[in-house]
Amino acid sequence: MKYLDEFNDPVLARALFEQIDAAATKQWAVMEVCGGQTHSIIRNGIDQLLTDKVELIHGPGCPVCVTPLEMIDRALAIASRPEVIFCSFGDMLRVPGSHCDLFSVKADGGDVRVVYSPLDAVNLAEQHPDKEVVFFGIGFETTAPANAMAVFQARERGLANFSMLVSHVLVPPAIEALMSSPVSRVNGFLAAGHVCTVMGTWQYEPLAAQYEVPIVITGFEPLDVLDGIRRCVLQLEAGRHEVENAYPRAVSPEGNRPAQAMLASVFEVCDRQWRGIGMIPSSGWRLSAAFADFDAERRFDVGTLVVDEPERCRAGDVLQGLIKPDQCECFGNECTPRTPMGATMVSSEGACAAYYLYRRLAVAGRGGT
């Protein structure tokens, strides 16, 4: 595939690994806040091959992992209603709520459908005027324009039976929360390339300045991720803390203006709970007043939700980089990919799920069971 395969070249990757090793004269901790980058790192084994001088911390960049438990429970309650066709991205289907997940709702007779694009859900609403079609609008800023357009189109087409359950999260406030924490170990950040494709890079300037951390806008293919790490390390070694764009083919400083205009119209900023981390002020988007009619949270009264998060689940500490997954006492025992306690064990780029596979190999290598 053009503009993809070239950025997977193993020979060029090796050169980048070596450059990073040559550049680093001390220990650095670099965090990526993007599920897609975490996935690429784990899938390609980048953290395995990287010099020990650079530690990669997998931050809360996976919207699946951070969608608040209350929102999942709300989704499950809505999906269980007989008049509802509940549509979602595939990522969300196995995320555990307090008692079950969307798969079990489906097993109980709920009409739960996986779609590739939120527009598919809008089309379903048109095809099934007798049903309520609800779309689970999760994601970071990358996905928000798609979700916004879906709501906008629903209004344009007069589809009163369409609504969206919105749980958007924003990256800059998360970085701020992470850096304000007294126990933060992060020296530098890789910023999510496609989030910046939409929003531009200007939001990160004040963060880099205030917290004196380099923030490198990074892509997703192995060469892109390695280049992001390389530039971050070079800045750290030189004592610089700037916003740097390592993904110029897809990111410009101002971002996507038409998308931003739509976002400003359809969404408004709100406080948001991040699963495992807690409430981060002004870190989310909800539907604006003009589009309130399409808000599934208002349309469906699901009663009081009693949220039940397993106390011993430490997904939040993992997401903040405070512990490694195998330092959690539940890891590999009660909590496995088949019986996940938290979202970091469910998601394909959750740090816990990734470590689970590696650990099996490490244990096997030592000849243990």
């Binding site: 084994g45 991205f89 097993a107 019986t339």
Partner: protein
Amino acid sequence: MSEASLAAGIDAEGWSCPLPLRHQDKVVMGHGGGGQLSGELIQHLFLASFGAAARSATPTDSYVMDLGNGTRLAFSTDTYVVRPLFFPGGNIGELAVNGTVNDVAMSGARPLVLSTGFVLEEGLAMDVLGRIATSMGAAALRAGVQLVTGDTKVVEQGHGDGVYINTAGIGVIPEGVDIRPDRARPGDVVIISGPIGLHGIAVLSVREGLEFGTELRSDTAALNGLVAAMLGASTDVHVLRDPTRGGLGASLCEIAETAGVGIEFEERSIPVPDEVRAACGFLGLDALHVANEGKLVAIVPPEVADAVLAAMMATTEGRDATVIGRITDSHPGLVVARTGLGATRVVDRPLGEQLPRIC
């Protein structure tokens, strides 16, 4: 098994998880996906409930019966619930015939006869059923098997997804052939008969909500001719498996676990058509977990690998056969891939259904 525990259905003690936080009291779609959940349903519900009446729990495609007079038979069954019924490259009928022919052939047997069981939904158009049945006849003829017995039931509209087909097949195993997963030995060579991911992607491309344009067609095909050619080169083939649901990844994991051996392969050596790669790219799927319906994995001792490979490449179904890896005594039970960058990663089974993702 006491009546009470049979009524309860689940042998709770059979669950390996000591603290089942979400013990499943209902069947979910993942149980039919061919991944970990399916395996657990078989082990912890079916085999546990069947009790003494069930034979050993080795997960092979077909069951081998020794009649004691020098004849060994392979017996297998499979049920087809694919939606949509028609997809690029075939339909549920062909799948039902080729699938069971292949299950029988994976024991090294020459398939002879198939039964066909139909569950039809009231209201199904006759010409749709006719097209499916015609395809089945044609597929059986191509495979050299006879459709000898069957059954038909009709369920009320709304209860059947159009048509479900079950096929069961019997075949005869030639002398000197002993094919089962636990025969895999460190040093053995792992061969795939051709490019992977075609069937799964072809079916996804016409699935509601995903539709995408592709020239890809399902690779559904009967593999008994290919197997016969391989056994003609050497009867010492150790393992054969057709990687259907769960893909190549699931098959390799099952073999590694059953045989208690490690499997290693280079990601770059797996033949993946560009279009499969592209579709997996934008859907966020792993080609290793996408279903195939006309491919097999063979594990053979190194001294016969060249001969077997040459025999495969001389057939239509095996023309793109290639070596992908080997069996090792390191990391027993685990399948390890070397990534394009040279790192290693453990390949696991998919947990349930393969779903497109945005992350």
